[in-house]
Symmetry: C2
Subunit: 356 residues, 2 copies
């Protein structure tokens, strides 16, 4: 098989630990399925600030740009929280999204059988919950002009939220396409009763909708969506929304499944290229202890195989291996009921590798 | 006692039905406690659009301005949803907030014993949940400049989010004051890792915090807050945040209590004046059937008595009466387990009036 170039940016906190296990899994799929990967590592986030004086060094970006996919661990930590903006890990995250044109963030939120009890929701409410939040990732208030100025009532801060119809159309079309491969329901979330960007959003959705007559569309106001996710999570299939709303709702959706330590994500642009990362953060409190759960990162590899490479056999093998290991009762500390029986990061990684 | 002027704007849907019961309750407190109210009714929302061609007629605003407090039912409905902006009920809502200077929206989210089961959260997670969201109500992206323009990639929409330090300071101080009267914990919610307005917000909170050394302060990012509300709702006491985040989080918090049909709210400005309304909306689907639950509106009167008039005895009497009626097993359809035994709006109102 042709060699796929993987940019590996392990990042901060537990990032390096979980990424190491994901790479072992990828190597196992080389042996089993004959795929070939070439890994190149880059510094990113806090560690890049410490070693290179910037969260997103040029050479890291170059590595990503010549790769076929990026595997990201996690970035950030209290050490850099009070840095000026250009020296913060998040600035690197926003920078890499923009530089790589990753306009779409795919966040599946589904329930793992073995973790049903971990949710704070009642099991009967959660039953059947399996949704994807498609979040616009390179527009809106995240990237609009920001500044301070003196106003009549003292210092003022300004953020600008901008969307053009092209940006809205591409993300909405992608969400419709994804809905087509699933239960064929799309909820478009906005605040069209207040925001001009939301009205443009809704108009665009309505203009495009006739191209997807097989997909059932509903418009949901963002405040109502925050409620409906709690009330009827299983009724959602695909949710599409703008950057800021997507940030909030995708985290709410992830948390309600109780499976946040297990959830993967993909950030996509035009074409097959994508950046894959676990939803959980850098967890600085448990970093370096060898106890982090690598499953979300390993499942991010499965997502990469599906969405970027079309390696469905290997993706399935990974997902099946994870299920098998969990079904056999193996747990890392974060998902263990009996913490005394919890296994570590490498032990979990190894079990999954062996199950492939 | 001196006569207090109450502006009554019943609005749309179930608004008039629930407001009627709240007024009966107020009249009962005149008899029992000797307070005196004078009611003046104004058109507002959809009905005002139909009858006067504008959601917020001048004379309604005048009635509110010369009143000591406003009692609002609910506004909106599908009939007006596709109207142009100036002819939509929400526009009236934003207009009245701005015109009356109601910069603070107080949204208690607490659990009613009899409704514990109505929540989709597990009872043990919900146990002890009793929080207040203090939402900034006249600033931010709701009120900033909004427009369309032609851009390089087609039509563009723009919303502007602006906050000045004076606006932030007054709402944050109010939240600190409220926390002082409660469990002395304040969570300030922002997105300071991305937004300039959030950085101004956080700086301002940190500058003010030393004036409230008795209140424990935490900063929570908005995406994380959406998660923590699900994970540890009972650990929150007072949450303060800007307009858009407050819209989303206050609804999420309300829904997780399972008590949304019972929750009241206050919108306050400088001084004692306030606008009081139930959190639930106009519920057009059940309007005119006499089955709406009047309790949230009745409890909004109790909130008015406390916050605007300092009528604590009557407030307590109302709250006790509600509890008594619920404890006796009376339920409207929305909160009834056995729907066949549900009572109507006026029956519920009457029971509460009699219990005062
Ligand atoms: C760290 C932050 C800038 C980022 C975001 O808000 O996009 C994070 O919350 C996420 O969702 O990936
Ligand atoms: C109707 C709408 C404009 C309003 C808001 O977003 O403020 C409503 O959702 C609310 O919370 O009172």
């Amino acid at each position: 098989a042709d060699v796929k170039k993987i940019a590996v940016i392990a990042g901060d906190g537990i990032g390096p630990e979980v990424v190491a296990e994901a790479i072992k899994v990828m190597k196992k799929t080389e042996d089993v399925f004959g795929y070939r990967f070439e890994f190149e590592h880059g510094l990113f986030g806090g560690i890049a600030i410490d070693e290179k004086g910037t969260p997103l060094p040029e050479d890291t970006l170059a590595i990503c740009k010549k790769s076929d996919a990026v595997l990201l661990g996690a970035v950030g930590g209290p050490k850099w929280d009070n840095n000026p903006k250009e020296l913060r890990p998040e600035t690197g995250l926003l920078g890499i999204r923009k530089a790589l044109g990753l306009f779409s963030n795919i966040r599946p939120a589904n329930v793992f059988d073995c973790l049903k009890e971990a949710s704070t929701l009642k099991p009967e409410v959660l039953e059947g919950t399996d949704l994807i939040v498609v979040r616009e990732l390179t527009g809106g208030i995240y990237f609009g002009e920001k500044f301070r100025r003196e106003g009549a009532n003292g210092e003022e801060a300004v953020d600008t939220c901008v969307y053009n119809v092209t940006e809205v159309e591409r993300i909405v079309r992608q969400a419709f396409e994804i809905a087509r491969t699933r239960r064929k329901k799309l909820a478009s979330v906005d605040k069209a009763n207040v925001l001009e960007t939301s009205r443009l959003w809704r108009e665009t959705v309505n203009r495009i909708a006739p191209d997807y007559p097989d997909v059932e569309l509903e418009h949901v106001l963002v405040d109502n969506c925050a409620m409906q996710l709690l009330r009827r999570p299983s009724s959602f299939d695909v949710i599409v929304t703008e950057n800021m709303f997507g940030d909030i709702l995708s985290d709410e959706a992830a948390m309600l499944t109780g499976s946040i330590g297990m959830l993967s994500s993909a950030s996509l642009g035009e074409g097959a290229f994508g950046l894959y990362e676990p939803v959980h953060g850098s967890a600085p409190d448990i970093a370096g202890q060898g106890i982090a759960n690598p499953i979300a990162t390993i499942l991010s590899v499965a997502l990469m195989y599906r969405l970027t490479f079309g390696y469905h056999d290997a993706a399935e093998a990974i997902e099946r291996a994870v299920k098998e290991v969990l079904d056999a009762g193996h747990r890392t500390g974060d998902i263990a009921v009996d913490k005394s029986k919890a296994i570590g990061t490498t032990a979990m990684g190894e079990l999954i590798v062996n199950a492939i």
